[in-house]
């Protein structure tokens, strides 16, 4: 509770980033109430949650089975890998991104601008930072559920690269964290539903070009460089490396990138919520 108060006092000051420590990222304190509220809502809307699981599942089946016939094996880090393993890790990252972006953009916009859920929340001891952390925690819970299910299906189909695949679970949640934070921050700048076209415009190339379906080596050098800087590539490379048990320092770099992206998004979101709901 002290912490919530401390965070709350960050209202009106720019970037309360310094106040956001890892232990608070997952929604301790009052942020829990936001999660509780979402559980109350989704108790009845479970269909929505189930649909979120089937989408990646269909991707996995269709692309795994279909493209595997054409491609067979891919070389990663000097090792020949079955294409199914290669693409499954990429799809896991991509679906973590898609799920997170969808919730963080449509979901948050709806609550922020249409049904004004946050107006009521912010008339209670909850502060903007609690709301932002709570929504993010909720996104991670859902993202975690999808990632877990995805991994189980992946294992069931024999698409996992190695026993290390279990570590993909927290890593996929990290991808959710990064995109939820960034998506939520972007949403606070949106004015109408039209702006969501921009989201699709950003997400689709990320999905297609982030070495999701084929190795980075097929691109010309300049494009490789650009891709290396984009966020989904970090997730794809991280998950693929972990899935195959190919550890290197670069995995740490990808992880830090995603962590910073999510934390920045969270800080911006809290600040913007304060500006929008508490003018």
């Amino acid at each position: 509770m002290k912490l919530a108060t401390a965070l709350d006092s960050g209202r009106g000051r720019p970037f309360p980033l310094a106040r956001i420590t890892p232990s608070t990222l997952l929604g301790g304190g009052r942020a829990r109430r936001v999660v509780e509220r979402n559980i109350l809502v989704y108790r009845r809307g479970w269909i929505f949650i189930v649909s979120g699981f089937f989408e990646p599942f269909f991707y996995l089946l269709s692309i795994g089975i279909g493209l595997n016939k054409l491609v067979g094996v891919v070389e990663v880090g000097g090792r020949a890998i079955p294409y199914t393993s290669f693409v499954a890790a990429g799809l896991l990252a991509a679906s973590a991104m898609n799920g997170a972006i969808f919730d963080a953009t449509f979901g948050i916009f709806f609550k922020l601008k249409i049904v004004k859920t946050y107006d009521a929340m912010l008339s209670t001891p909850l502060g903007p930072a609690d709301v932002a952390r709570g929504e993010l925690a909720w996104a991670l819970i859902r993202g975690g559920a999808y990632a877990g299910a995805f991994l189980v299906v992946m294992a069931g189909l024999g698409y996992v690269g190695s026993g290390w695949a279990v570590v993909c679970f927290p890593a996929a949640v990290l991808v959710s964290f990064a995109f939820s934070g960034a998506g939520m921050a972007a949403t606070t700048y949106m004015r109408s539903w039209q702006d969501f076209d921009l989201v699709s415009l950003a997400v689709l190339p990320l999905f297609l070009f982030s070495a999701t379906f084929y190795p980075l080596g097929v691109y010309p050098g300049w494009l490789q460089l650009i891709v290396r800087l984009t966020p989904l590539y970090q997730g794809v490379a991280l998950l693929r490396g972990l899935d195959l048990g190919l550890f290197s320092w670069s995995l740490l770099g990808h992880g830090v990138y995603l962590l910073v992206m999510g934390a920045l998004g969270l800080a911006v979101s809290a600040r913007r919520l304060s500006v929008l709901v508490l003018p």
Binding site: S9, E36, R37, A120, S123, T124, P125, L278
Partner: protein, 342 residues
Amino acid sequence: MRLGVQAASQPGAQDASAGTPPAVAPSAASAQRSVRSEPLICARGLVKRFGSIVAVDGIDFDIYLGESFGFLGPNGAGKTSTMRMIACMSPVSEGTLRVLGMDPAVDGAKIRARIGLVPQEDSLDLELTVLDNLIIYGRYFDIPRRVIRERAKRLLDFAELTDRAHSKVDPLSGGMKRRLTIARALVSEPDLLILDEPTTGLDPQARHLLWDRLYRLKAQGVTLVITTHYMDEAEQLCDRLVVMNDGRIAAEGTPHSLIERYSTKEVLELRKPLGMTGVAERLAGIADRVEELADRVLLYTDDGDAALEAVRLREFPYEHALVRRSTLEDVFLRLTGRSLID
């Protein structure tokens, strides 16, 4: 210096979460009243700006524990902006504001934990049922579910929504939503209740029910801050009030003292023929003050019957005449140049 406020803070949020009854024990409240040194809410030179718009333009007021304090004013006077600053939902642009002995910029969460807010526009959770709205709102205040459930039952009764408990909020009528919003503000058993036009949209019966409920809360020591457009409501509910106009406070006092200061004892109200001009000249000298509205002329005087006699002698063609006592409505008209019901 902060003695009164500190004592009042004891039965606050923590106790509520431990499940103890009413947030303000009457005994504690009466003990407070003797310590009148520090107001519960204190504003000095309070300013609220939205870009170039000055919504609140340097106002001072003190609201004491257990008091019921009103803000009256025409549309756009700055009432809601003031309420939102008190509720720590809007940063102060300039001046000082202390609420419950704390600074909203520093202790916003602590202050809000002890405030119940009925905002001008309902902000109910449209994705939840009536009952769940009460429950989750209580949870935002960290109150245990068991305690909230018990309170929710009573509050639903009070709001006459018991049979709609499991209905979604959207299909409720405007008045029902309003009643639910009020019930929701009470779920945390606040020390300070801020009501921004609480009875707008309520039918007369529901209004009287709410007044009754507010009296009882006041008797328990809860401090009420109310904005309203209904003068009868202000006269009924407010111990003291301010009239705001253009972001400033035009007058302050008890309803009675305001009427005494800004109006005459009686008012002669004449319904005038449509499109009539030159009214003021024709009635000059009869009353202390003549106010011309679209359909009526108001003559302010200490003797209404004498004024009516004078009007008759001048053969002024009125359609209907009424002598009545001055009300806050007249004070309002005098101070803001605006009628409330226009």
